[in-house]
């Protein structure tokens, strides 16, 4: 057997799935070939390399997120039960001068896109449809994102957020719209996805400021923790005062206060 031949057998041999007769042939080769033997020995050594222990803080942070998540969900359920709550954010949206143009444009193409949508069920097809449209009309995707961010259903808005992440260069209008979503969207999932989408643009002052503002107003502990995580990652020292306020505010969820305290230490 030559080494090239042995090479085909070695991975299965390591996993213990090589046929017995092939294993025998390989072992015969190993008796005379130090190179292949060394490869196998090293591969075996890899499985017993000493492991490292994460710090206890990792578990604490995980538990804080989980607790915040549960609290956020309970708050979400309570909000959903209060069906009379007006959707004020929709109006803020239209009042925002920066979005005036975008909103008008969306209204213009809304009927067209809506029509295309009805012929499709939700799901992967609508993504293809979106992709096709993008080829047809320049900038359509941005309009699509802006339009989807206003949909009634949270899953459509989520799709809008995920669509926005496919832009190589984030359009300022979309940045503004995503920041708006972070602050005012009724769904925690959508807000968190929007934060995620914005995390790639942390070098924009507008984004950092917008996220800090959202931290000021957001009531969902899960979102608050995610905002703090991101702002710490971005080394935004401007939020230290704000973190002190959160830490001392007894109305704030304990998990969030704890995260704020950690964040102050991380940023100082």
């Amino acid at each position: 057997m030559k080494c090239e031949h042995a090479a085909e057998f070695i991975p299965d041999y390591l996993e213990g799935t090589l046929k017995p007769q092939d294993a025998e042939r390989l072992e015969a080769h190993l008796e005379s070939c130090a190179q292949c033997g060394k490869e196998i020995a090293l591969a075996r050594e890899l499985t017993v390399l000493p492991t490292e222990e994460p710090s206890a803080a990792l578990r604490t942070r995980f538990e804080a997120v989980l607790a915040a998540y549960e609290a956020g969900r309970r708050a979400g359920v309570a909000r959903a039960q209060d069906a009379r709550e007006p959707r004020a954010w929709t109006w803020n949206w239209f009042r925002s001068p920066a979005l005036g143009f975008a909103a008008a444009a969306v209204l213009l193409v809304g009927g067209f896109l809506g029509g295309r949508y009805e012929t499709n069920t939700n799901g992967p097809q609508s993504h293809d449809e979106v992709a096709a449209l993008q080829g047809e009309v320049q900038g359509m995707r941005q309009l699509m994102v802006l339009s989807m961010l206003q949909e009634e259903s949270a899953s459509e808005r989520l799709q809008g957020v995920s669509l926005s992440t496919r832009e190589e260069q984030m359009d300022p209008k979309i940045l503004t719209a995503l920041l708006h979503t972070v602050r005012y969207d009724s769904s925690v999932d959508v807000r968190m996805a929007a934060i995620d989408a914005l995390s790639r643009y942390g070098n924009h002052a507008q984004v950092r400021d917008g996220l800090a503002e959202a931290l000021e107003t957001n009531q969902s502990p899960l979102v608050q923790v995610q905002l703090i995580d991101l702002l710490v990652q971005l080394h935004d020292r401007n939020i230290i005062d704000q973190l002190h306020k959160i830490e001392q505010d007894t109305d704030v969820n304990p998990a969030v206060r704890e995260r704020a305290q950690q964040a102050i230490a991380q940023l100082s």
């Binding site: 090479a7 390399l49 995980f62 998540y69």
Partner: protein, 193 residues
């Protein structure tokens, strides 16, 4: 929180609203994921952030988990994506850590410790793609089948990549071992004088 339920069952419970069951998965995957990331990045704080990010993403995307999906490839795929996104963000981490520390074996350690230290260094010298496939298949113990599911390629392609990575690992290892032997002879000579 302990249970003997398979990962897939636990994840379905998380998906269907029992977020607290995520604690079970954290218990099982915290350390493997942390070691996967330390192996890739050699940066402990960054690795902890990434592990945290994986579990936040599981919460966020829990509804996209479909019954019948093998959990291990699924979570490692999330882990890879989290790492890729972090690199895209390109935010330099606060301080460079004592990353290289565990790889340096103390001079008087046992021979096997020295071998391990050289092996670690050899692993670190591989390109990330090769290091990753060895970490997954050998250190994390993922089956080739699972890696193929995760990468969306054929099992055969995974095996080829594993073997190429092993080949390069051996070459680097032999070179480092030779260097270490020369150094210790030189040190020994100095000591004599």
């Amino acid at each position: 929180m302990t249970t003997s339920l398979p990962d897939e069952e636990v994840m379905l419970m998380v998906r269907d609203g029992s977020a607290e069951m995520l604690g079970v998965l954290f218990e099982r995957y915290e350390k493997p994921l942390f070691n996967f990331y330390v192996g890739l990045t050699k940066d402990r704080p960054a690795s902890e952030d990434l592990v945290q990010e994986v579990f936040v993403r599981i919460l966020k995307y829990r509804r996209s988990y479909k019954p019948g999906t093998n959990f291990r490839p699924w979570i490692y795929q999330i882990a890879r994506n989290a790492r890729a996104d972090q690199m895209k963000k390109n935010v330099p981490h606060a301080e460079q850590t004592e990353a290289a520390e565990p790889m340096q074996a103390p001079a008087n350690s046992l021979e096997s410790d020295q071998q391990h230290a050289i092996l670690r260094r050899a692993l670190d010298e591989l390109p990330e793609e090769k290091r990753e496939i060895l970490l997954l298949s050998r250190f994390q113990g993922l089956r080739y089948e699972e890696i193929a599911q995760m990468l969306g390629c054929q099992v055969g392609a995974v095996k080829v990549r594993v073997h190429r990575a092993l080949q390069e690992l051996r070459e680097v290892f032999v070179r480092l071992e030779r260097g270490a032997a020369q150094k210790s002879t030189a040190a020994g000579a100095n000591y004599e004088m």
